[in-house]
Symmetry: C2
Subunit: 135 residues, 2 copies
DNA sequence: TATTGTTATACTCTATAACTATA
DNA sequence: TATAGTTATAGAGTATAACAATA
C-alpha cells in the first residue's frame, strides 16, 4: 500500500499503545499511567503542569491520571509552601517498586514491536523518532 | 526524557493524526476517511473486510467510515453478484477528485511533521516505519 | 458452519470551556 | 491579571458481542 509517513506513524503508534496496554493489564494501569510514574520519578517530583508538557496532554487529563495513581497508592500529591497552587507529584515506595517492573516490561514490548529490526536499525529509528515526535 | 520507542511512536502518531485532521477540516473529512478513499481507489474497488485489514481497524469501524463517505457522495457500495455478502466500495468522480487534492495535502503534512530531517533521513525513517508499522 | 456486513454498547481518549485558589 | 489545578461535557477512537444475510 502506498502509505504516507503520517499514516505509518499513526498506525505504529496505535499498535505500540495497544500492545503495551495489553501487557500492562495485570498491573491495573495503562500506558499513560506508566508515563506519569516514569516522568515524576525521573524528575524526583514533578508539577502536574510539567507532567502535561512532558506527556503532551491537557492538564485536565493529568488530573485524572494522577487521581488513578493516587487511589492505588502509587503517587502522592504534595503542596509546596513556595507556591501553594502547584501540586508536586511524587512516587511512593509502592510506585517506585512498580516502575522498576514496568520499565523492564516496556523494554520487552519495544523489542517486540521492532522484532524485524537489528540493533543498528533500532537505534537509528529511535534517534529519528526522537527528532520527529518531540519538540 | 528517557522515552522508549513505543512512547515515541505513540506520541509521533498522535501528532500526525492531529496535524492531518486539522488540515483536513475544510474538506469535511478526517484522516481515516482519507485512508478509506485512498485504499479503495488504489485497489480499484475494495470490500469492507479488506479495508478493515488495510487500515487495521475493526469491520464495524469501516461501516461508519463508509457511511460517512457515501452520505457525502464520495464512494458507492456495490453488491457483487459473485458473492452477495460483500459490498465493493468504489469511489465516485467526486471521490476521485477529492482524493487528488488530499494526496497533495497529505504530502505537505508529512513534510511538516519531518521538518527537522533531510531527504535521506526522511527516506530512512519511512522505510524503517514501514517494517515496524505494517505486517 | 463460516464469513460479510451491520447494529448496539461500553469504555477510553481528546478537546474545550468554565471554575477555584493562589500568585 | 495570570497561572495551577479541577470539574464537566461532548466528540472521536477502540473493543466486543450479537445478529442477518449469504456462502
Amino acid at each position: 500500500m502506498d502509505a504516507g509517513l503520517g499514516f505509518l506513524l499513526a498506525r505504529g503508534g496505535g499498535r505500540a499503545i495497544r500492545t503495551f496496554n495489553r501487557a500492562l493489564q495485570p498491573f491495573g494501569v495503562r500506558s499513560r499511567h506508566y508515563m506519569v510514574l516514569l516522568v515524576a520519578i525521573q524528575a524526583g517530583g514533578c508539577s502536574q503542569r510539567d507532567l502535561g508538557v512532558a506527556l503532551d496532554v491537557d492538564p485536565s487529563v493529568v488530573v485524572s491520571l494522577v487521581d488513578d495513581l493516587e487511589r492505588e497508592g502509587l503517587v502522592r500529591r504534595e503542596t509546596r509552601p513556595a507556591d501553594r497552587r502547584t501540586r508536586l507529584v511524587t512516587a511512593t515506595p509502592a510506585g517506585l517498586d512498580l516502575l522498576d517492573r514496568l520499565r523492564a516490561l516496556s523494554q520487552r514490548v519495544d523489542h517486540e514491536l521492532t522484532a524485524g529490526l537489528d540493533a543498528d536499525e533500532r537505534a537509528t529509528l529511535l534517534s529519528l523518532l526522537r527528532r520527529v515526535a518531540l519538540g
